[in-house]
Each structure stands twice: as C-alpha cells, then as structure tokens.
Amino acid sequence: MEIEERNIQQETEDIIICRDVHKWYGNFHALKGVSTTVKSGEVVVILGPSGSGKSTLIRTINRLEQHQRGEIIVDGIELSGDVRNIDAIRREVGMVFQSFNLFPHLSVMQNITLAPTKVRHWSKAQAEEVAMELLTRVGIPEQAAKFPAELSGGQQQRVAIARALAMQPKIMLFDEPTSALDPEMIKEVLDVMRELASSGMTMLTVTHETGFAREVADRVIMMDEGNIVEEAPPGEFFTNPKNERAQLFLSQIL
C-alpha cells in the first residue's frame, strides 16, 4: 500500500516548474515571463505561430537556451549556471529535433548506444540490447547497422526518438518532430509518439499537428509573442478557446 501511495504521489508531482521565465536574444525579448508546470506523466502540446517562443521555451528546459530571469526546476533540480546540474538534467530529459540531428558518422546502433555507454557507463552489450529493444519499439530493428543517410526521414526521426529514449529519460521534449517530414512519413513518427504517450512518458511537444494534440494531449498550451495566452485541455481548447489570439490562430489553421 505504501509503495502504491508513493507512486501516486510521484505521478501527480510537478516534474517541470517554470516561474516567470524571461529570455532575450540580444535586445529581442523572446520569452516574457512564462510560468507553467508539467506533472509527471502529462502530455503537453505547445501550439502557436512561428516566432512565438514555443521552441525557445522547451529549449530552456534542458538549457540548450539559457534563460536570464525567473526559475526553471526540472525533476527537483534548479537550472542554474552549475555545469553539473545541467548535465544531470540533460541525462533525465530526452530531446527530439526538427532536423533529426543524428550523428552521420555513426551507425544507427552507435547513435543510440553512444550516450548510454559514455554517460551512463553501461557495458556495450547492455547498451546494444536496450538499443535493439528500442529499435523494435519504434519499428525499425532491421536498420541497426545502417548509417543515418541511408534511411528515410521518418526512419531517421524514429531513430532519433530511440536515441533519446536509450538514456531512459523521465521527460521527452519534441521540437517540431514532424515539420521536416513528407506527409506519408509524419504518421509513422506520430504513431511512435502516440505509443510513447500512452506508456506514461512525460512529454512536451511543439507541433503543428492539431490532430495529434486533440487526440493525445492532456493539455494544450498556446503561445504568442513570448507568452502563454491560453492553457486548456484539448477538448476545451479546440472547441471553445477563450483568448482572442487563440481563436484567430485556430481559425487560420483549422
């Protein structure tokens, strides 16, 4: 009973906390005091027009971008200048990029096992076993020996997801994972993400795939000009947006 209670408590724990996060690029104010929290196991989709700060926000969460004011607490660790904190957080946060960013000089298998062997210090055999499991999970176990350039875009993005999952992260960040893909490949990547969401992974996804948001997200965040303008469950967000900007945005994309 005790264990179960603790599990429940952990699940409802806030795993990401952003309080009044500001970010400037030179003089450009990209994030203007963003505050939000994400619970463990929650699937959050961030929508918004380009330049609204969506990507910047999720990139501050693993500190690919540095925020200059406010605080971000991920898995109980506050993001500060301390390099050890940053590396500790990056181990727990996986990220998938729009342009895949697979390492072209390494095979699919090496792409996936690199971080577990170098950062987590797993044995090669253990890392490869996990990698094969993950490749099977994303549906391309037969591509393990190939190099990224030999794969289609959709396959590359699935490898990128497997690579991030190999570190057994608690949180996954997706930065427009399907925006560089042909329409027929978008589905195969979204299917993997759907499966991942149903497995209870905490996910923060920037995407333009409203279908995915509607179906999978627990909550939709709408950003505009560096601020969160609306935060609501998808059913509510898509049918009855309260904010004017959100209404305009939805009328344009739907």
Binding site: N62, L64, D87, R90, R91, V93, G94, M95, F97, S99, N101, L102, F103, P104, H105, L114, A115, K118, V119, F147, P148, A149, E150, A160, R163, A164, M167
Partner: protein, 415 residues
Amino acid sequence: MASRPSSPPEAMLPPRSEVGVIGWLHANLFSNWFNTVLTLVSGAVLVLCLWFGLKWIFLIADWTVIAELGGRFLLGRYNTEAACSGQNCFWRPQAALIMVSLLMGAAWGLQGNRVARTLAWLVAGVSAAFAFLPYNLETMGLDVRVLLLLNLPAVPLGWALARYTPLGTGTRITMLGVAIFFLTLMLMRGLPGIAFLQPVSVVYWGGLALNLILAVGGITLSLPIGVSLALGRRSNLPVVKVLCVFFIEVFRGVPLIALLFMSQTLVPLAFPEDMPQNSLFRAGVVITLFSSAYMAENIRGGLQALHPGQAEAARALGLPGWQTTMLISLPQAIRNVIPAIVGQFIGLFKDTSLVYIIGMLDVVAIGRSFIQSNPEYLANARELFVFLALVFWVFTYGMSYVSGKVEEHLGVGRR
C-alpha cells in the same frame, strides 16, 4: 485539354548515339564544333609532348648521373669519413628502414585491407630491389645488400606481430610507430660512449632521409597541434582564444624561409651559449609549427561547416562538452576537410627541401651540390632534376592515393 494516354508510356532505351564507345566519344569529345576543335588541338599537343618527351627520356637523356649520385641521394654525407670517422655507419639508417618495413607490416596486420598490404610490400619491395643494383661490390658491399633484403621478411614479421601478439591494437601500433621514429633518430644520431653508435652530427644528415624525417615528424605532430589550436581559437576563454589567434596569425603570416632563418639566428640567442645546438631539431620545430598554423585553420573550417544541431543533440543527450568535441564534432570536421589536410601534408613534405637555405643538404640540395662539385655532369642537371621531381611526385601521389582510399573507406560525400 490535351488528352493523355490511358496507360503510362513504356520505358525506352536511350538513343544509340548516347551509349557505348560512340556515345561516350560523342558526349565527351565531339558534342559540338567548339569541343571538336578543342579535342583535336589538345590531342595534337598531347602527341607532340609524348613524342618529344619519350624521345628525350629514352634516346637523348644520359641517366648515369643518377647512378653516380648513388647512396648520397638517400643519405647525403651521412656515411662519409668526416661524419662517421673510423667506422662504417651505413647500417644505422638501414636498420631504421627495416623497422619502417616492420611497422608497415604491422599496420597491414592491424587493418587487414588491401591498401595497407600494397603499401607495406611496396616499401619493402622497393627497398629490397635496391639490393640488386648493378654496382660492383666495392661501391655497394654485400652487407648493404643483405640489410636491404631484410626488409622483405620484416613485413610478414610485423604482420604476425599485429595478428598474433598483444601488440595488435591501434593504440599499441601507434605507440610502436612513435617509438620507431625516436629509435630512428637515436640510431642516426648515435650515443656518446657506445663504441658502435658513434655520434654523427646532424649537419651531416641529408638526402631523402632528411626530408622524410622532417616530414614524418611534422605531419604526425602538426595534426594534433593544429586541432588544439583550432579548438583554442573557438574557445570561450578569451586568453586561450587570443593566444591561439596570435600564434596562428604569426606563423601563417611569416614566410617559412624567414622562420627557418630566425630559428637558426634568433632562437640560439635565447639559450645559453654552451647549450648543445641542434639545427635539425630547430628546423623540424619550425616546419611543424608553420604547418600547424595552416592545419588549425583547415580544421576550424571543418568545425564551422558542422550543423550546430550536431553539438546540440550531443549535449541534449548529456554528453559533456569535451566528449561532444572528441566524439561528435572533431571526427566529422576532420573527415570533411581530409582533402585540405592532405594538401597541407603534401605542402609540408615539399617544404622540407627549404632547409637547404640554413645549410642542410636535403635531397634537392644534394643533387645541386653534386652537379656543382662535379662539373663534368653540368650538362646532366636536367636529368637529375627530372629524377628528383619524380621522387617527390611518388611520395606526394602516395599520400594523395592513401587519402583517397581513406575517404572512400569513411564514406565521405555519401554520409
């Protein structure tokens, strides 16, 4: 509206004039009147060059000057009475050569590929072939010939060492290579106090051996130094960055000849007078540093061409900065600039002949001084320099060939 055929058209063969020998000729040589004229003119020039070139090589040229130059071409004044009085020092560079053959064999055993095998047998085979030069036994003794022939068994010995002993890992063979380089220097230089290793001053070192020693030292050191400088130049630490920029700009901005002069005239002033002076060492350091400055810029170019997403992806996986550099950025950067790096190596090898201006007799200077001191061969200077050009070309083409194979192996341009 134009009507469309109900079924897609069948795939057809290309027109006959586009395939086969005729097609190739048509497409590449005679595609229009301008190209036809170009083909005919350049063909005529080619035939004329071949005609006069071959005629000169086989009928007019007198190649005895090369034979007369003989071993001096390889070793300069190393094995003369002045350099090595009272004993015969020929065996020392020979032993070094055998070690090189052994190393090549080991590299083959380690890599197991055709290129490494070809190179190993080429080095050993050419060395061994010298044993059969038609000199009489007084000019070229049996001992010399036997030592040359020993290069042949050295290759399989090295191969077996790499295959069947714990020596056969990349790191260990590399260490063996470094050890052999220093052993070569030690053998050639000699050790005071050991009777059979009488010291030979570096001023007597010369010939192709001098070029090769400078080139091997320079090439192996300029890559790591260049990489460090390139990384330093991109560093976030202002002091490191400024120092690296300063070093690169100074060594790149001053002619190598000026640097070589300075190494002989200025650098000794900075040290106590009774300190042993070694002009070869100073020349080697200058050539290496000069080349490193260029290397640094080549590598930096490769680093800048990388998509920033590569480093981001590595950092996002939790790899620390230095691992990101060593495992992700550098391998890709170096791979992308292999042609520039090899160009730099080739340039360095050719530049080693500039040491003649500080009085060292490299292979070119040996040839020149031979002609000057033997006026009967003045008319044959052409043959000598054509031969020297060929020797340089063989080595530089070898580098070019190997780099091409390395690129192929790494799949450069494909992935």
